[in-house]
């Protein structure tokens, strides 16, 4: 019977494959406190770099001109990608401002 050849049977290998595929698509939403306000973001990777990019996207802000603190600790730009962010983290994103 020709049609029987096309039937794919369940195999543990498929489960592992599907996990990797769908984990990228089924992105989880998390809550963050950025500059004192509540934001919910769906991110593919929960690192600081991703979160900052998401926050400043479409606002015409260059990430070179900002500095970031995570839970009251400065995170240098070079560390953003390596720094994971978790639900309810407090993030401060600052810029130079007129002052005396």
């Amino acid at each position: 019977m020709v049609w029987k050849k096309n039937i794919s049977f369940f195999h543990p290998r498929d489960l592992i494959y599907n996990f990797f595929v769908y984990s990228k698509i089924m992105i989880i939403e998390k809550n963050f406190f950025i500059n004192g306000l509540n934001y919910k973001y769906k991110l593919s990777d929960f690192d600081l770099s991703c979160l900052v990019d998401k926050f400043i996207e479409k606002k015409g802000i260059n990430s070179q001109n900002i500095a970031v603190a995570l839970n009251e600790t400065l995170i240098k730009k070079s560390e953003w990608k390596k720094t994971k962010v978790s639900e309810n983290d407090r993030i401060e994103i600052v810029v130079p401002f007129a002052g005396g």
């Binding site: 500095a67 130079p96 401002f97 007129a98 005396g100």
Partner: protein, 255 residues
């Protein structure tokens, strides 16, 4: 005028300008130009997602930036602000402002002293905004601050010199760099401070809130130069009695 050396860098101007309260960015830039300043101070604030964030792009890049911790009330807050400023502006210089209340904006000397120690340990070059207490100024200087910056009256008050005797004592006790930071109202205040032998003046409100900021900035520049030249050329001693400048000798007669 004699050159000013701060942290190994040479400067022509002894006037440091604040960048706040100007009516707009053009007036700010014109005023900075007219002031002849080479160092300007600025704050660090949260990114405003719906407003202007390009302050740094609009200010002329030729200036040396002295970031400050304006508005900080605690050691923790000030240290994080200083670290953020260092990351933002790529400088170890920090004008440490640690105030105790919102009404008078007076520095909190105890918290300030402890924070200074911590920041110096972290490699910052600290410019400490403090009260006009000679002992505190001396202690801050001994701790390793690049410059001590006593106020002469509360920030933005324009009240000018309130305690000249203290300023004289500060100058006498501290051999390092001393700038006056707050309270200047008029050019003669700046001139007087320089005549007392201070190394420079930092001001903001007296220029920014005047009717014509660029012209006032120029007036402040000239006042600082005038005061410094006066100090360097040696002021005469004060006398309670008159000392005639024209001799009586050779006068025609005593009618």
């Amino acid at each position: 005028m004699d050159k000013l050396f701060i942290d190994g860098e040479k400067f022509e101007s002894r006037l440091i300008m604040g960048t706040s309260l100007f009516p707009n960015i053009d007036v700010l830039n014109k005023s900075l130009e007219k002031s002849g300043s080479e160092i300007i101070t600025m704050a660090v604030r949260r990114l405003n997602i719906s407003g202007e964030n390009d302050f740094i792009k609009q200010v002329n890049k030729k200036f040396k930036f002295l970031p400050n911790t304006a508005g900080c009330f605690t050691k923790k807050e000030a240290i994080l602000t200083a670290e953020l400023a260092r990351e933002l502006l790529q400088t170890n210089w920090i004008k440490l402002e640690l105030i105790s209340d919102e009404e008078m904006l007076l520095p909190d000397p105890i918290e300030l002293f402890e924070t200074c120690k911590e920041l110096i340990k972290k490699g910052f070059k600290v410019f400490a905004y403090c009260s006009d207490d000679p002992i505190l100024c001396k202690r801050l200087e001994d701790e390793g601050c690049v410059s001590v910056m006593p106020l002469i009256s509360p920030i933005g008050s324009g009240l000018g010199i309130r305690n000249e005797h203290n300023l004289e004592l500060i100058r006498k006790m501290c051999g390092g760099l001393i700038f006056v930071d707050a309270g200047i109202g008029q050019p003669s205040d700046a001139s007087k401070i320089m005549e007392l032998g201070f190394d420079g003046v930092l001001l903001n409100s007296s220029v920014a809130r005047s009717l014509d900021p660029p012209t006032m900035a120029e007036a402040m520049k000239l006042a600082v130069i005038s005061g410094r030249l006066g100090f360097k050329s040696g002021l005469i001693e004060k006398s309670k009695l008159a000392l005639n400048s024209t001799t009586f000798k050779g006068k025609i007669s005593n009618f």
